[in-house]
Point group: C2
Chain length 354, copies 2
């Protein structure tokens, strides 16, 4: 069974919120939406979301202050893009270590400022504390003018699965940081898809961002919508070229660029089949070229064509690996490669209980 | 000169935000308001504020998970109360250490839940990460229906200075945690003044909460309004009885309950003299008994009657002591007691350059 609670992260969240009452004005249930959606009055809804950057810093994934600043804005604005909210701004709480140099602070704040400019939004306020290491928490707020906000719920078998852009740069960047520091992948500065979210909103049946990587993203859609996904046989075309060349050189299989949990902050969305042509026309007229990834199927599986077979991926196992590895990134990558080895050499053993 | 930048904390904030553009919809400037105030449309403003609890945990001040949960809601809702916003809810990002027991997590979440119930508000969402130690960041949002929101700006000489309640419990609690663990002060569970903020809003010229203790609070008002404050000779009546008895037993002077920077989350506000009677009537009808503290004066000083003299307190020195003590709480208390010794024994040396 694809239950939400089979994913340890979902279970932790459900435990934490089990004693909380829900606001009568909140339109989404837990897990259903990238941002919280609150009905303000008849005409206005707002979307609000909070995300911290902590483990990415403590593990060494983000060691560049400019990128870290850019990311705290991007991860939060991306959640607003997923629900189709126009950003009003962001608040940022910064825990800054004593030994953080002035130059690093300047770079951090420049990353924040540049990202805000890129999304035409503003830092509205914040908080500052001193701590052992850098930790940032952002909270972004936006307004939804559409009658029915777009959430993670709503895709149906037959719908077409799209991505707003190429996938895999987040995981190539992570591999470069943790596995092969000599051969670095530096092309990582994801852009929250605020620009393209309006045209998607007109047609899509559900939408989510790839903050946790593609497979985790669609696995959550499986659990929420009781459907599955089958990627087209040409799924490699959806992989970022630089990321693809990068892992080829390291002899790491390309599909792991979809499996790792460091995302690229593209939007994953589904379009009802009969709206596809109209959507693609409209998108093109807006200078936006979405990538068709596959389709929604009724079996609750995520199927990808690898090693010559259409394989149902054990997305439960993949999503729970970070917890199993207790935050040890190298151990996590080893477990991921072990699963790949099994798919390649013992596909009949592929453990698919969810 | 009482400049904002003479306070090291203000200077740090001003440096951090120096490269940021302000939102054209934001009604307050930096430092002017406890919460950020954003014009949404002709009829609606919202207030949003973010506050982390980090140093309070790392120093051992908050070692009770229930209190910590209560506080992350209270500190943020208190900022909404200061600007007169009705809370819509709060988002909480939690960094939870691996060794935090289930029982502690339950207590933490119960504190959050109880505080939300007390303020008739809701946890709207959040984020969870694993880290070395517990760090909470809350972001509260509320709606302001009043035409002109109440900020820290607006008091004039002659206005009467009030507090929504007794002062000093926050600092008595801190002394109990850091100085005298055997003789504990346990009566600390501050309540954000949401209930009383409407009646104050009708009359007040400015308002702020005492999150950083009374003296820091009024010092910031001095810098923002170019006025001063003179406490009435009966200021001891405004001190919480339990806190007063507690410090008496430790031979710590009572005025230090106003000087320490762990607040009690009361509202400090000023009422124009000619509105005082009407305000007090209205308050009483609402079951609210504000405490008259003193008055606004034109000299930019904070004057308190201690050791037989009306002494202008060196609030700049007091506010910068935590930075001077580099976060060493015992050293901070020592510096505070040294300043008290000087006031008591060498009042003519009282250093009042700001």
């Amino acid at each position: 069974m694809y239950q939400l609670n089979s994913i340890l992260e979902n279970k932790v969240i459900n435990n934490l919120i089990s004693g909380f009452e829900r606001s009568p004005y909140q339109l989404n249930k837990p897990h259903e939406s990238d941002a919280e959606i609150i009905q303000l009055n008849d005409n206005t809804k707002f979307a609000i979301t909070t995300d911290s950057i902590s483990e990415e810093i403590s593990t060494g994934l983000y060691d560049d202050p400019y990128l870290t600043g850019w990311m705290i804005v991007t991860v939060n604005i991306s959640d607003l893009a997923a629900v189709g909210a126009s950003p009003l701004g962001i608040l940022i709480s910064e825990i800054i270590p004593k030994d953080f140099t002035n130059a690093k602070v300047t770079d951090l704040q420049r990353g924040i400022s540049d990202a805000c400019k890129a999304y035409n939004t503003f830092v509205l306020g914040g908080d500052t504390n001193e701590g052992d290491r850098l930790i940032l928490t952002g909270t972004a707020i936006g307004i939804i003018n559409k009658e029915k906000p777009l959430t993670r719920i709503g895709c149906k078998p037959g719908d077409i699965l799209f991505s707003s852009g190429k996938l895999g740069s987040g995981n190539a960047f992570a591999i470069s940081k943790f596995v092969s520091k000599t051969n670095s992948f530096t092309e990582y500065r994801p852009v929250a898809q605020i620009k393209n979210c309006s045209v998607i909103s007109k047609y899509a049946s559900c939408r989510v961002d790839t903050s946790d990587g593609f497979i985790s993203t669609v696995d959550q859609l499986v659990r929420l919508n009781n459907v599955g996904f089958k990627l087209g046989s040409d799924w490699l075309n959806a992989i970022d070229n630089d990321a693809l060349n990068y892992v080829k050189n390291l002899s790491i299989p390309a599909w792991l660029l979809l499996a790792g949990q460091h995302g690229e902050f593209e939007l994953i969305f589904t379009i009802p089949k009969d709206l596809k042509a109209e959507f693609l026309d409209d998108a093109l007229n807006n200078g936006f070229e979405p990538i068709e990834l596959g389709k929604v199927i009724s079996e609750k599986e995520v199927k990808i064509n690898i090693y010559g077979n259409l394989i149902p991926i054990n997305t439960t196992l993949i999503r729970n690996l970070p917890t199993e590895a207790s935050g040890d990134v190298k151990h996590y990558l080893k477990l991921l490669l072990e699963y790949d080895y099994q798919l390649k050499n013992e596909p009949c053993l592929n453990f698919t209980s969810h």
